[in-house]
């Protein structure tokens, strides 16, 4: 009997996930405010149902009362976050909140399935980080000082990375985390944020070659320290974020080309210099090359994905614990195994929606600094998703990076929540700008009516203005269309 419920629930979970993803897409494309609200209500419904089905089946499979407790706390967390945003940030992007809650829910479910004790730890960290990050949006919105602190950002970032390099314990071939009072911190995650703030504050105004040069030097130092700590995945993410931000800020193709070519040169150098990079590439080409040692992880991950097939084995019906590091780097394989490849595709779509949402803010917001922050953070997010998912499925060599919000890892999840909070702040700023503009527009029309006799030059100017605005709108529309395909 349990078997049949498990079998049905497997499909139910998949359909709920598909509906949720669909609603997110509809919500993104919806202009009408009421329709949007309707969408979000449905999203919330699917999210809660999804959690209910998942914990119900996990309870049936394990007969462990802890499952019910965890269910209650997760639902409480989700509802609380919603309530808080409703109360304090009414204008925040609830689609983003819903996506975040969904990703966190999926993360909890797979963590609980793999190991209950670490899942509880993760939950506490998430709850703490969420409470703490609640002040971030208002901070971003109100404190204008953050724009000009490039010294602070660079020094803080470099200091943290150096600390890790000097004092971290060697763990799995790389120096990644530092132990403070029993909790290990992976500073490279935090520095991801300061790094973006640093570049944005440097390049927000008129850009001279000197500024780009200094940005390059400081960014280079970041990456060199990371490379020396053998945290190559993080170094790669920093590198890509740096290239994108410089390209976007300068609008010069030459920087993009230079960046891309330097990425290929450095990867060739890294391949020559580091034995572990070479071995990663070798097992990428053939996972069974060194099955007993280096190839074991990826081979197990691929076996897991294969045994899951389209619909997955169902929760507690597969054996994702056979995959080494299933909680951290290979969570995606564990999800594929128990929830299926179709579910995993929906998950990728959700990550894509997140990216689209952030980029949309980057395009619409006026101030250059915030534009750069948004594009930088979105790049880091998207590229991190690409590195983990590509790595676990053997599309690219494995880099040992966690899947944001889903994998186990306190620092990672904490930083991603902070990142999402910053994005919410930017979204609020954008909303304010929109309202200001609307007001201005109204004023303009009234003034127009008053001053009916305009001279030609003024009209010409207006025409130009309109043209510019039209162009902007066209671009926005096109991107939106493409996002809503």
């Amino acid at each position: 009997m349990i078997k049949i419920i498990a079998e049905i629930s497997k499909y139910l979970l998949l359909f709920l996930m598909i509906f949720f993803t669909l609603e997110i897409f509809i919500g993104l494309s919806q202009k009408n405010e009421d329709m949007r609200k309707n969408c979000m209500r449905k999203q919330m419904l699917f999210l809660l149902l999804f959690n209910f089905v998942a914990y119900f089946i996990m309870f049936l499979q394990t007969n462990d009362i802890v499952m019910l407790l965890l269910y209650v706390s997760v639902v409480f967390y989700v509802l609380l976050i919603h309530r808080m945003y409703c109360l304090f940030y009414k204008k925040a992007s609830f689609i983003l909140v819903n996506i975040m809650c969904m990703l966190l829910s999926i993360g909890f479910i797979i963590q609980i399935r793999l190991d209950v004790s670490t899942a509880i730890k993760q939950f506490i960290i998430v709850a703490g980080a969420s409470v703490f990050s609640f002040i971030i949006p208002v901070f971003v919105k109100k404190v204008k000082l953050v724009k000009n602190l490039h010294f602070v950002y660079s020094i803080l970032g470099l200091l943290l990375l150096t600390l890790v390099f000097l004092f971290a314990q060697v763990n799995g071939g790389g120096k990644l985390s530092i132990n403070i009072g029993g909790i290990s911190f992976q500073f490279s995650e935090f520095v991801k944020i300061t790094f973006v703030f640093f570049i944005a504050s440097m390049l927000q105004k008129v850009i001279t070659f000197r500024q780009v040069f200094w940005v390059t030097v400081i960014a280079g130092i970041h990456m060199v320290i990371l490379t020396m700590s053998k945290d190559l995945g993080a170094a790669l993410i920093y590198f890509v974020a740096y290239i994108v931000m410089v390209y976007v800020a300068t609008k010069q193709n030459i920087y993009a080309l230079l960046g891309l070519s330097s990425i290929s040169v450095t990867s060739i150098i890294a391949c020559r210099l580091f034995a572990h990079v070479r071995s990663r590439i070798r097992i990428w080409k053939n996972p069974f090359f060194d099955y007993q040692n280096t190839g074991y992880q990826i081979a197990q991950a691929l076996f897991g994905i294969c045994s899951g097939s389209w619909f997955g084995t169902g929760l507690f019906a597969g054996s994702p614990n056979m995959i080494p590091l299933a909680k951290e780097d290979f969570t995606f394989a564990a999800i594929c195994e128990e929830m299926g490849i179709l579910f995993a595709i929906c998950l990728i779509l959700l990550c894509m929606c997140t990216y689209v949402l952030i980029v949309n803010i980057a395009i619409k917001i006026r101030e250059n600094f915030y534009k750069l922050i948004a594009i930088g953070l979105s790049t880091e997010y998207a590229f991190q998703v690409f590195l983990t998912i590509g790595g676990t499925t053997n599309l690219i060599p494995m880099t040992g990076i966690t899947l944001p919000l889903i994998s186990y890892g306190g620092s990672s999840v904490m930083c991603t929540i902070m990142m999402f909070a910053i994005i919410q702040g930017l979204y609020l700023l954008k909303k304010d700008e929109d309202e200001e503009l609307e007001e201005k527009g109204e004023k303009q029309t009234t003034s127009k009516q008053l001053k009916k006799k305009n001279d030609h030059s003024d009209r010409g100017k207006k025409a130009l203005e309109r043209e510019a605005e039209n162009l902007e709108r066209k671009i926005e529309k096109q991107t939106e269309k493409s996002f809503n395909w």
């Binding site: 390209y247 976007v248 609008k251 099955y291 081979a299 294969c306 130009l464």
Partner: protein, 480 residues
């Protein structure tokens, strides 16, 4: 004024790099999704069937392992359960399919190992699955329908008798394997009881599938390859004449014809039919350069592993410009360092029979649900055109000569069907008596559902006679 308007324009274009970047990353996400689908559709089977994949054992809990069937549907391996519900595997034909079907107790081998995933997956329809789940019954795993033919397998096994050796029989057009016999064999039903005995050295490695994993010197059967190299260089066999005196000396090394018979004046077809070592030594040292022999061998997939589903070994061939005449002569007649498996020999001869197209040997015809619904059919796969149809035709003519007026005449010429073949005696170790394997490779040439046969009888003696007799009984069974 102008500057202001310029500023506005610039502002309007601010989005352009943003849009390029976002499209790039957007494409990256779509690429990931595309790759996931590609991975599932194209690559997941190879990983699921991988021998390292221990997850397969987990499915046993919910699925009754499927049966392995012969091409006519007769059961070769099935799972039964006793009164207490404990499952065990039954092999109704005992020793007959020992290596090819294999076993799944004490590890696994043969098709039981390579098709483990197939046998442990179930494609029963969803209603039945739900019903089974409801009553806590196991689902029935899929059945594997092989291309094996019980009559031929039995005939081949009987013909080899108590000798050690191997037989492989394939359909010429499709490459489907009809018989795969390896002796000595074992009884998979009693493998647990006899495990230690079977692993003793005296038992002659019964677990080895000699047809696929045996590495033998090809002996005179290699003359097919040497002939092809000659044909590729000169375009025709017509201009070759040789006067055989029973021995041939070159570079201080002497080669003898079998039993020192002097074949006298002969053309190429005669030399091939008589399996004249002297003529071929002459060809290899005087008329061919070493590269051409090597490139011909490599074109026939020597030194390459082929993905035939079951464990097989690479065949070995090496000839360099520095190779001494003695070794070159030996190589040209299939001695020297060359090693080949019977299945590879059958593939080469199959290519000759099939107008130059080499087929990949395959053991599985289709996968079925227990009630007969077909899950998937395995289509014949070609390894490519390894020789031109004209070359294949010329070689067929040579091989017909062997049966009509050559070394296989005594055993096969009375046969009412058109047969082409080549015999071989492969010496190994020291040159004492009784240390030569007996080879026969050949095919029926009726133009309608023909078969390729490769036979090796270990220590068959100085003559190819024993292997040819095995082939004869296979042809007789097939055409009766």
């Amino acid at each position: 004024m102008k500057e202001k308007s310029k500023n506005k324009r610039r502002k309007a274009l601010i989005g352009k790099p943003y849009i390029i970047v976002s499209y790039l990353f957007f494409g990256m996400f779509l690429g990931m999704i595309g790759y996931m689908i590609y991975f599932k559709v194209c690559k997941s089977d190879t990983f699921a069937n991988n021998l390292y994949n221990k997850r397969q054992n987990k499915y046993e809990k919910n699925i009754v392992r499927g049966s392995i069937l012969a091409s006519n549907g007769t059961v070769l391996a099935r799972t039964d359960s006793d009164k207490e519900g404990k499952e065990f595997r039954v092999y109704p034909y005992n020793n007959l399919f020992a290596q090819v079907v294999g076993y799944c107790d004490h590890g696994s081998s043969g098709l039981e190992a390579s098709e483990n995933y197939t046998l442990r997956s179930s494609h029963v329809d969803i209603l039945e699955k739900l019903q089974n789940n409801f009553w806590d019954k196991k689902n029935k795993g899929d059945n594997l329908v092989t291309s094996l033919d019980i009559r031929l397998q039995q005939a081949a096994s009987n013909a080899i008798g108590y000798n050690r050796g191997a037989v492989i029989v394939m359909n010429t057009k499709t490459g489907k394997v009809l018989a795969d016999v390896s002796k000595p064999d074992f009884n998979p039903n009693t493998i647990a009881r006899n495990w230690e005995l079977l692993n003793k050295e005296e038992s002659g490695s019964p677990f080895l599938n000699r047809a696929l994993q045996g590495q033998y010197p090809p002996g005179s059967t290699f003359k097919i390859v040497t002939s092809l190299a000659y044909l590729r260089k000169y375009g025709t066999f017509d201009n070759f004449f040789f006067n055989c005196s029973g021995k041939y000396t070159q570079g201080g090394y002497t080669i003898h014809c079998n039993e020192n018979i002097a074949h006298r004046k002969e053309n190429f077809a005669d030399a091939f039919a008589n399996s004249c070592n002297c003529a071929f030594s002459n060809i290899a040292t005087q008329l061919l350069d070493k590269n051409s022999l090597e490139s011909t061998a490599n074109a026939l997939h020597f030194n390459e592993s082929f993905p035939i589903g079951l464990l097989s070994v690479k065949s070995f061939f090496a000839l360099e410009n520095s190779t001494a005449d003695g070794l070159t002569m030996q190589t040209s007649i299939g001695q020297g360092n060359t090693l080949i498996s019977p299945v590879h020999m059958a593939m080469i001869v199959g290519a000759v029979a099939n107008g130059g197209r080499m087929m990949e040997p395959s053991f599985v015809k289709q996968v079925e649900v227990y009630n007969g619904t077909i899950v998937k059919q395995i289509a014949p796969k070609s390894l490519g055109q390894v020789m031109t149809p004209e070359e294949a035709y010329q070689l067929t003519e040579l091989m017909k000569g062997v049966v009509q007026r050559g070394t296989a005449t005594d055993d096969l010429s009375s046969f009412p069907y058109d047969i082409a073949g080549k015999t071989g005696t492969a010496e190994y170790g020291s040159k004492e008596k009784g240390t030569a394997h007996s080879w026969f490779v050949g095919f029926s040439n009726t133009g309608n559902s023909d078969i390729v046969v490769a036979v090796i009888v270990e220590n068959g003696g100085d003559k190819s006679h024993p292997a040819t007799l095995v082939a004869r009984s296979i042809f007789e069974t097939y055409f009766s």
